[in-house]
Point group: C2
């Protein structure tokens, strides 16, 4: 999985230089910025060599810290992931995943086609034993800090054992990355009582109760922003819808403020004066700070970024990837899944 050894703590991070709406510029600028923070990082910049070189020469990047891996093809943001992966084996996403799969790098970040990153990680890097479905989690800032929501990867029609494995993986992620020893886990439903919910939540509750996780029961839609639990687990259908709904809230706010500013010059001036304060106050909501979101359950560190990722977002993705590698997240998840499986089997035998 990893070719770094303890005596040489260099971490090789594969950067899909062609991923995102502002590639390769933002991907490269952000990745190079990350190296300035942590010089144990070595970048493998994957994509069209000429384009990558063009950006690198502009910023006079230190050649000691990166290598360019040529990948002439690009998977577009709207291409069908599986079809594109097959028809474009020389795409930056496919080449990146193969670098991890071949043990030539330690972590992979991309702001490209999410489905293709998931598919390449799942098919080329492979799943951890016991994982039927990998999961994407996201960070939702709330009144107590951050809630991590799994799954937002649009894996739909989940089965209870999928949600259980999301919870096991999320538990390790939050414990290791946020240093929360026994994170609280809620199951997203329509009422706090365990009899409130759909068939999936009721069946999943049974499994979660048997696990050794800090499962507190059902949580409701309002609990995400209230910060009732550290982790919220749901089917990817609802997670994806919630994520996109949440991302559209600032747009509505902006629209309502713009409309209000039209009412009078006085209101317009007030809103103009307040703009920066509002922006500062709402900074915790800015996704750039979180960078990207982890894909858990594959045999490698994969972080997926927003298509519109800025250099700051990419930089934070690279740094988070390094942290996940250093903390051996993949091994810890594999161990924890194995333990969880034993625990469930035991309770069946009883």
């Amino acid at each position: 999985m990893s070719n770094s050894d303890k005596s040489n703590p260099v971490c090789k991070i594969v950067v899909d230089a062609m991923g995102g709406d502002f590639a390769p510029r933002n991907a490269i600028l952000g990745a190079i910025d990350a190296v300035k923070v942590d010089n144990s990082i070595r970048l493998l910049l994957v994509g069209r060599t000429d384009e990558i070189k063009g950006i690198l020469s502009e910023i006079n990047a230190d050649t000691a810290y990166y290598k360019i891996i040529d990948a002439p093809d690009v998977i577009d943001m709207n291409e069908n992931p599986v079809v594109a992966l097959k028809s474009k084996p020389n795409s930056s996403i496919a080449v990146s995943a193969k670098l991890i799969a071949g043990g030539n790098a330690d972590a992979f970040i991309s702001a490209g086609n999410t489905g293709a990153v998931v598919a390449s990680s799942t098919l080329l890097i492979g799943r951890i034993k016991g994982v039927e479905r990998p999961t994407i989690g996201t960070f939702i800032p709330n009144q107590k800090g951050i809630c991590t929501l799994f799954d937002v990867g649009a894996f739909v029609d989940s089965k209870p054992q999928h949600l259980l494995s999301y919870a096991v993986m999320a538990n390790i992620y939050v414990k290791e990355i946020y240093g929360i020893n026994s994170p609280t886990i809620g199951l997203l439903s329509v009422g706090e009582e365990s009899e409130k919910g759909n068939k999936l939540t009721k069946d999943t509750t049974e499994l979660l109760k048997k696990s050794n996780l800090n499962f507190v029961g059902n949580v409701e839609g309002r609990d995400i922003l209230k910060g009732t639990t550290n982790i919220v687990i749901c089917d990817g259908f609802i997670g994806n819808i919630l994520l996109k709904f949440g991302e559209s809230v600032p747009g509505l706010m902006k629209h309502l403020l713009t409309q209000h500013a039209k009412k009078s010059l006085f209101e317009k001036i007030k809103i103009g004066l307040f703009k920066n304060t509002l922006k500062e106050a709402l900074r915790p909501l800015d996704y750039q700070g979180y960078g990207g979101v982890p894909l858990l359950g594959v045999k490698g560190v994969t972080i997926i970024g927003h298509g519109s990722s800025t250099p700051l977002a990419i930089k934070n993705m690279v740094l988070r990837a390094k942290e996940m590698h250093d903390k051996e997240l993949v091994n810890k998840i594999a161990f924890s899944l194995n333990q969880s499986q034993e625990k469930i089997t035991e309770s069946k035998d009883e």
Copy 2:
């Protein structure tokens, strides 16, 4: 269903005086305010006579416009709806529903236990022919005005025919109440393409395509606030979670502004000065203007309010109930469901 005749346009509205966190005060103040706007309304105030009289005497309400119907029991907000309905036949909610069922009133509003209002309407007033499940819709303000989201009533594990009937009923509601002739209808999913979604959305798409509704296909979480369609249809599990998530957004905003104000006196003053502007700008988000949400699919007009309903919200609920009665929503929904059933049957025969 209704005992008003065309020559005498008086509309009798049953008000669950004991419903809501601030009952009976807010329920009565709001209902009396509605009569001041529309004096063709006659109120049947259902609840504990003494308590109701106490509030009425405070405000010197005109006795011509209301009647008190005694109901000594109250169903609490957190009681199990079906159990409570059985054990408390003299509760304000049960008595209210029976008034509609018996043809003694034209519409019913309550800010009480939502489940109990749904159960009493469904069991005592009864469902319209062809309705397996009634549906609760909500109004979500967005960049183009309002999106109506059905179902938010937490009816979970829906079947495709349930979602189709929600769409048929929502179509009539939006057409009649908002005067939109052929409202656009989107099915909430994880991608715009019809192949993106779960089993339920894929199967429902087939049904919606065969209907005579203005179905535009899948919409995503972000489309609700963008205002892509007039109506968004989803299973009650996700609708309920989205609704509660959305309701918790202002709380997070307030929290972030309060935190920011602590940074410096200057920021605190700026936020203080801006508070009212922000409040005014975000007024379209205030649920009070919408009052309550309709329960569609039962043989009577039922409007359900938030537990924390203010007198303004209750007033708007009463006025909306009157409008639904005047526009014969129940008959129109019954007619439309019948037509839709014929259309689906025809397309099966072809």
